[in-house]
Symmetry: C2
Subunit: 383 residues, 2 copies
């Protein structure tokens, strides 16, 4: 019998306390699975160990001391397990940048005015932003999605138009969106990535644009990691000491006002999240379901990954952490996800910039596996 | 009056104790300068502050929060200062791989037989090694130089033939080479890089091949940093615990037998160094003299950089540390040079592989500076 999302939502709420007790964990998990299926979250397949092992074996045959390429060797084997290809290729790459506005900007949490979200989307469409430059260099396409920018666009060439609302409501005084809106935004992300996979895609990356979104992300990270807001809230685009203190206070207020349930990622998302964060969680879930590896950018993508993993923990197998952000909460996010970042370049821009930089490293790992000569091919003596 | 290198060498030896006392440091420096000039080490110009500042100013105008691209911003400004171009381009790139053998392999310091140096050079020439794959990806050419491989090559298409000797002598019982040989090997490196600059070169990288060269490098690093061999000696291509203990003992013996003078980098080089290490030091000195930035790879390139900086401290202004190697002594090298690595991917292969990976990051930094729109161009509001 198929029931609707609300039915299962109520069941999950009912089992909230149960979820925390080991004895009933299995029941809660079953409920979550059926709940996700009513939400149309696609099932995520396990990694393929045969291709993972094949990649590991080939690494040992290549003309270099065993293990001497460190993380590159580990990375290519992981991609082999994700994709089911013993020698994975990462030729077709895309950065999915989700843009949305945040009602919480009314509280003065950002150094930039809210109009900058719209202005930066136009900059993306004209190719002048950092993500355009870095994606061009990496041979990746940039997919700009308006999932909730507060104002409309006249110039829309190249824009994927999926606006669900003119931004979220102010989380300081109530939920960012309804549960149904959060579900729809996740579904939008799934749809967008499935369209891109349809166009041909070996490697996806997530990026964000949304003035105010480090505030929503810090709220999510605080709730889902259990750390107090002050430990996971950074300066975002660059607020000063007073601005930071204000931001922490607003996040505390948002959590107080909304009481998001840490055992229910969708509840956290709709109460203190954002539309682009929901969309990015959908991108991760949709990519993983189709065995497409996803490179996650910094703090906002990390918050989205926590939501995605809360809905479907298997998604973690398909995530690659591109870099460690300057945002202080990012380390806690990566620890919670069990991911180690590839780069540490003191970035804090977002847009998917760290992910686009990591494309080079991931491509290098795959090319090494695919293109290097073996000891026997090259006639090189082994240790 | 021009005097020969030996004259100034004797003078330097005479001032060895003087060098250590602050009072006579200036005299010792003057002697070193004249000594280097007899050795034909070209003078290294200071960074150009006008272009450095111009790059910094432009960074502040680009459509991103100030400083949000972290090390990329710092890096592009440094390149602007090195090259004298306010918007430096790094289109033409080359990895100079110097190959040589080491007499100390007789002591069983490596997991691989000495013939592997020659076999790997052939692998380089056929394009099957890791450095070939990574340089191809980065759009860089690979220049393979035989500066001292023990055996001759029949197949030499693409090989730069500058063999000075059939490897070094065993440092465990005497000097690796004569002082004149060390000077000539440095000059070879200078000549090779100047030829490459003549062909067109925006960014150089150093790489090495030489079974036994982590032993020579650890000896150099120990002498020039003042740290005991056990603190700077790693497993190289992968010796076991007994092999590591043996390697440390051999390095201690080499230092004991040769008594290299830490105040005289050329003395250290000829007594416990290697021909490829000398050549790479020359590459660094020659590139810096012509304002070409040099990306240094891991431990062996680091030892060469210590030699280069010992001969001409200004060279440090033109060095970019690509990555932090697994070799335990590498951190001490970078600290001594005052450089922070761009990557930490647990590499320990050599060949210039870490440097080739860093090319992408350096190119990204320069493209960001050159290609991004400014706030006024894009009509984006500032903070």
């Amino acid at each position: 019998m198929i029931r609707n999302a609300t039915f299962y939502k109520n069941l999950v709420d009912h089992f909230e306390i149960v979820e925390r007790g080991a004895r009933y964990k299995k029941i809660a998990r079953q409920v979550r699975v059926r709940y996700n299926s009513a939400m149309k979250i696609p099932p995520i397949p396990p990694l393929i160990m045969e291709t993972y092992e094949a990649a590991r074996s080939r690494q040992a045959e290549l003309t270099k001391p065993h293990g001497s390429l460190g993380r590159l060797e580990e990375l290519s084997a992981q991609l082999a397990g994700m994709t089911g290809q013993a020698r994975p290729k990462v030729e077709r790459k895309a950065v999915i940048v989700m843009a949305a506005d945040h009602g919480v900007t009314l509280e003065g949490v950002s150094a930039y005015p809210a109009e900058v979200t719209r202005q930066m989307v136009l900059n993306f469409l004209r190719g002048g932003a950092a993500i355009n430059v870095l994606a061009r260099q990496a041979g990746a396409r940039v997919v700009i999605v308006d999932i909730g920018v507060a104002s409309d666009f006249e110039e829309t060439a190249g824009l994927v138009r999926r606006k669900m609302a003119a931004g979220t409501r102010n989380i300081a005084s109530g939920p960012a969106m309804t549960r149904a809106e959060a579900e729809e935004a996740i579904q939008t992300g799934i749809d967008v990535i499935h369209e891109e996979i349809g166009r041909g895609l070996d490697l996806a990356a997530t990026g964000d644009m949304g003035i105010g979104n480090t505030t929503a992300s810090a709220a999510i990270v605080s709730v889902l990691t259990g750390l107090p807001p002050i430990q996971v809230t950074g300066r975002g685009t660059g607020v000063d000491d007073a601005g930071l203190a204000r931001k922490v206070a607003i996040i505390e207020q948002a959590i107080q006002a909304n009481r998001p349930n840490p055992a229910d990622a969708l509840d956290v998302l709709c109460k203190v999240g954002g539309l682009e964060i929901a969309g990015l969680a959908g991108v991760m879930l949709g990519a993983a379901a189709r065995r497409v590896p996803v490179v996650i950018d910094g703090f906002i993508s990390g918050a989205a990954a926590l939501i995605a993993a809360g809905l479907s923990p298997q998604v973690k197998d398909y995530l690659i952490a591109s870099h460690l952000s300057v945002e202080i909460g990012h380390q806690a996010v990566l620890k919670h996800l069990g991911l180690a970042p590839l780069l540490d370049l003191q970035l804090r821009l977002g847009e998917g910039t760290g992910a686009a930089l990591a494309f080079h490293i991931i491509e290098a790992a795959c090319r090494i596996l695919d293109e290097m000569a073996t000891f026997s091919e090259a006639g090189v003596s082994q240790a």
